[in-house]
Symmetry: C2
Subunit: 341 residues, 2 copies
Amino acid sequence: MKSSQVTIHDIARELKISASTVSRALSDNPRISLSTRKKVKELAVKLNYQPNIVASNLRTGRSKTIGVIVPHINRNFFSNVIGGIEETASNAGYRTIITQTCEKYEKEVDNVKALINARVDGILVSISGETHNLDHFNLVKQNKIPLLFFDRVADEIEANKVMVDDFKGAYKAVSHLINEGFRKIVHFAGPPHINVYKNRMLGYLEALNDNKIQQIDGYIFHDCLTEDKGWRSCENMMKYKNKPDAIFSASDISALGAIGYLKASGYDIPGDCAVVGFSNEPFTKIMEPGLTSIDQNSLEIGREVAALFLDEVHSAEKNDYKHIVIEPELIIRSSSLKKGV
Amino acid sequence: MKSSQVTIHDIARELKISASTVSRALSDNPRISLSTRKKVKELAVKLNYQPNIVASNLRTGRSKTIGVIVPHINRNFFSNVIGGIEETASNAGYRTIITQTCEKYEKEVDNVKALINARVDGILVSISGETHNLDHFNLVKQNKIPLLFFDRVADEIEANKVMVDDFKGAYKAVSHLINEGFRKIVHFAGPPHINVYKNRMLGYLEALNDNKIQQIDGYIFHDCLTEDKGWRSCENMMKYKNKPDAIFSASDISALGAIGYLKASGYDIPGDCAVVGFSNEPFTKIMEPGLTSIDQNSLEIGREVAALFLDEVHSAEKNDYKHIVIEPELIIRSSSLKKGV
DNA sequence: ATGAAAGCGCTAACAT
DNA sequence: ATGTTAGCGCTTTCAT
């Protein structure tokens, strides 16, 4: 025998019943007598029968698998989201296939096609930084595969979505700086075609506006998401005639760069310049000074998007698409506390 | 039409040839004429034919999928390993299913069974902290599914394995401390039934021994892997009559706890006590002082274990099992440099 | 309450 | 160079 896999036919033969009866008995079909069900299940255990899911999938057209596409698997935020997805999905009997795009449009298209080919039952996406063209997502819809977005969503595509209220997160962060007495607040922004970065900038602008603080030319640094760019932008701005007294960065990483520069140049934080980041990366509470940041509740995002997928699959009729918005939380640390901790 | 999926039969009908010819043409079988191959492929593109991998899998008995089992998906070390696995596997046309055990034996057994049921072509495992019984891995072997281990391996099971030379990593770390002039070196250890922690302790002992440094009672703190335990162990040891002057911790996290205590109590690092961690977590270079640590080259571990899997699957005859040992690297930062940076 | 038969879409041994 | 045929193991309709 090749791989000695036990099938329903083996059970049927031994019990002198048909394979269809075995199949029904194993799925607790009420049309099969309790005694037969019991006999079948006992023998299945005894023979260590393992259902061939591949065959079942071929027959039913479902795969009990969901595909996830993220920019980077090893970014704390995304691996936490994935953890939440995996937890919720596996409790409902679904497996999870993880793919990453490394922020590349081409890889995103490839991954989408691969997941369609794998006949996954749903695709959960946080789109890459390079993605402008959204045709590959229409491919998913054409194949009638449930498509959901989380965090970085495609505004133009109708779908279930789980987002963070980035606007409010930014608003909270900047309001906090203003409450602490800072007035000349710079923003390190990300690419504005990505919803999360656009909304963080809008939240920043609104908070300034609501507090009657004039927006100043050169106070927004675009495409400033890396440590290196954070360092150089900070170096740059500290030479301004109209020197800023605080930074609200759309990313913890570039905030880290800014703090690196400030410390290397002997500036006091937050005395000479306060800093607030975004994402509440693990290092923010370890660095010195501790970096005030916005927590996005990443685990919850994963759980919600998986739950939304289960809803979409199990609800018979087509409901309207839902947009779940996760409330971000301001985590205050000493990098923004004028009075000290 | 239900899902309007194009099959090889649709192509066959339109071209008035048989389905098997289409199947062969699509896989570039040389028995099919070039002109037919060309016609078939063109029509496949035109009709947007997508091969049904599930059907193919059922027929061939392969699934082109590998299953990965890790203790925690969102630990930097593991998500990097997974990144390496995913990269190598996807280049070879394999998909990757990720599962996590949360260090629980029960979840590990469940995950193994689920992956066997899913008919994965291979299972790559880093075993959980709770695992003592290894029967579930024999189940994998009984099903003739290639089984590989990485980092935390099962010594008792014959298999391809990718390990870090934890002994050497620890030896390097402790030798470095000794070179810097530290002599009274404490060890924060992990559970000794896990190979990596056992070897880190052995490397520590060997380095002491080779340098004729007497081992001192109470200088090994067992099961000390969390921030809290690192803090309390450090607090404890600083009250010793024979006060240590350095810590070699098997984990960056407990090293972080120790540094927290030392700083809170006004001790100088490394003047009063040097600290070296293990894993080179991202926060080690950000904290103050920077934490000297051991880098395990996690991405490379993932690439190697995936490559080893591909070897095992593609080599016709059964070769001996290989044990690949990754060289760890000492990353020196100021927490252990007596002379300053 | 159970069985027979068909077929999901693909591959491969065996024709011709 | 191409076609025929027979499944992979399961589910499900239609019978009895």
